[in-house]
């Protein structure tokens, strides 16, 4: 292992999962999963369908409550925290099926993404206090900067629902960044993208890491996952079956078994 990787390992973990479990009725979606995410790294989360990846996302973002186990984010527990509180603390996500606010413009989508970063309330909006005008101006500037980052600045005033699918993915990514995340969860960001778009996405993801954002990536596109990830975690039927560097995981027998079935 090179020195750069080692330096990262010495970092404080941003997220620590400790024996986290979640079941729905009799279905154990996630069973005693433990891992940690180091600051400023990209971790790929892979596994066959139904392995519990999306459930894990929903646990981290506070949509579901874990039945047991501990989650420590940024030094504090996330237990009982509301979703919007977690977003404020820096956990941001995108969705497997792009979920934009389709009747709103591209710019407005990003502005909603900044919801936790701004604070104007009803009174502020009615009386338009100077601080509110400044806040709005700044929010729009930030939003435009993010659109430039993903290359959609020319479409700021278009209705987001009218964008082609690949651009909608980029917009969703920009909206997730608008919350100034420390931890960014990407749920199959390359699904539905062509090869060129996937490569561009890979570059963007690396650029986001450079800004010291920690990324957890669920992705079926192995070429993307294996090239951008610093570490891979493999889930199967709710259990973590492997963790390690991309090439270590690729050679792992349990992983091959999970993906290809028993080898007899």
């Amino acid at each position: 292992m090179n020195d750069q990787k080692k330096a990262r390992t010495d970092n404080q973990p941003l997220l620590e999962m400790d024996a986290v479990s979640k079941s729905f009725g009799g279905v154990h979606a996630v069973r005693g999963v433990s891992f940690w995410l180091e600051q400023g790294t990209i971790t790929g989360l892979i596994g066959p369908n139904g392995a519990g990846k999306t459930t894990l996302f929903n646990l981290i973002t506070g949509v579901f409550r874990a039945n047991s186990g501990r989650m420590i984010y940024d030094g504090k527990t996330t237990h009982d925290a509301r979703i919007n509180e977690l977003v404020r603390r820096g956990i941001s996500r995108t969705f497997q099926n792009v979920e934009l606010f389709e009747s709103m413009t591209v710019l407005e989508n990003i502005l909603v993404g900044q919801y936790t970063q701004t604070r104007c309330g009803i009174w502020g909006s009615i009386f338009r206090f100077p601080w509110m005008v400044r806040e709005e101006h700044l929010a729009r500037q930030n939003a435009m900067a993010l659109l430039e980052f993903v290359g959609l600045e020319a479409y700021a005033e278009q209705k987001s629902g009218d964008l082609p699918f690949g651009w909608q993915r980029l917009l969703e990514l920009a909206r997730a960044l608008a919350a100034r995340p420390k931890l960014l969860l990407l749920d199959e960001p390359a699904a539905g993208l062509n090869i060129v778009e996937t490569a561009q996405l890979g570059e963007l993801i690396k650029k986001i890491r450079e800004q010291n954002v920690t990324i957890l990536l669920v992705e079926h596109d192995m070429s993307l996952t294996m090239t951008v990830s610093d570490k891979i975690i493999v889930l199967d039927q709710g259990v973590k079956i492997a963790e390690g560097l991309p090439r270590e995981v690729q050679a792992n027998e349990a992983v091959i078994k999970a993906y290809l079935g028993t080898t007899g």
């Binding site: 979703i83 977003v87 941001s92 979920e99 709103m104 909603v112 604070r119 009803i122 009615i126 919350a179």
Partner: protein, 318 residues
């Protein structure tokens, strides 16, 4: 964008139309009709914030309308309090009740929220009718005083018309400003996808509660203005049918459109007056007109008329 600029022109245009109408129209009946349009616009505007923008239905908004009217009636008649003090009291009481009702009710969504608010509206209606020692019961509440402000009396039709439309204009500006802010974007994001809105950090339950309370305030203001216009109120004015009528104004005028509230309120106030000549067929024709609007302009009048305008412009260019 030039949007704020156009809004300002629209406000000035509305103000000019209001002033001119007040000068030109001297027929007391027409002035009263226009005043009613103003009051209904306030009702539709309030509900439109909740329904059109946040996508949350309320089938009990007549209750807040009634709370505004009865609060001012009780305070000014029983306690001889100035109407100008009764106005903030009426609004605050409606807001407080909306808050108390909203906390549990707004956890519901869709049909269930409709049923919840429907039940609330019915309870309040029964309260108006049965709590006769305070509300005058089914026979109504008489003797509500006219409004005065120093030497200016609002007993005359024209002054009252100006008063109501002054409030309408103010409310239009307030709503526009809210919609164009962070709060308004939050509301619209709930409409587009509540789960997603929550996931990007919008405090949806707080926002829904706020807009519910806000729309109750507009309804209470309308109730206050109604009570001091007609001097007599009875429970029948604030029943389930009125709640439905407010919903219809919003839908017919166009959801998520400030001007839609104005258009919807105008149509639903004027239509019964125009249709008097149909005598017993009045309700049939009324229903048919509303149905055809929904069939041919499903987005409501505002959107629908704008689409027709844009289409004709395009075909001219061709």
């Amino acid at each position: 964008m030039n949007k704020p600029y156009w809004y300002r022109i629209a406000y000035v245009a509305v103000a000019a139309i209001v002033i001119l109408t007040g000068i030109l129209v001297s027929n007391a009946y027409y002035l009263q009709l226009l005043t009613f349009i103003g009051i209904n616009t306030l009702l539709a505007l309030g509900l439109n914030m909740l329904m059109g923008y946040a996508g949350q239905i309320s089938l009990g908004h007549a209750a807040f309308y009634g709370i505004g009217a009865y609060t001012t009636a009780i305070l000014t008649v029983h306690y001889a309090i100035s109407p100008w003090l009764a106005l903030p009291a009426a609004i605050l009481i409606a807001m407080a009740i909306a808050y108390i009702v909203g906390v549990p009710t707004l956890k519901l969504s869709g049909y269930y929220l409709g049923m919840g608010t429907l039940g609330f509206g019915m309870i309040i209606h029964i309260l108006f009718r049965e709590w006769s020692s305070i509300t005058g019961g089914a026979s109504g509440f008489i003797g509500i005083p006219p409004l005065e402000f120093g030497p200016v009396s609002f007993a005359s039709g024209r002054n009252y018309f100006y008063l109501v439309w002054g409030f309408v204009l103010l409310s239009l500006i307030i709503c526009r400003r809210i919609i164009d802010s962070r709060v308004g974007r939050g509301l619209r994001s709930i409409h587009d996808g509540e789960k997603t809105a929550r996931a990007v950090g919008v405090d949806t339950s707080q926002l829904k509660l706020q807009v519910f309370v806000l729309s109750a305030a507009f309804s209470a203001l309308a109730g206050f203005l109604y009570a001091h216009l007609v001097y007599f109120i009875s429970p029948g004015t604030f029943d389930f049918i009125t709640s439905i009528r407010i919903v219809t104004m919003v839908v017919i005028g166009g959801m998520a459109s400030i001007w839609g509230a104005l258009l919807g309120a105008s149509l639903l106030t004027l239509l019964p007056e125009w249709l008097h000549s149909f005598s017993e067929f009045e309700m049939v024709v009324y229903g048919l007109i509303l149905m055809s609007v929904m069939i041919f302009l499903p987005q409501g009048l505002t959107r629908g008329l704008m689409d027709i305008y844009e289409r004709s412009k395009k075909s001219q260019n061709r």
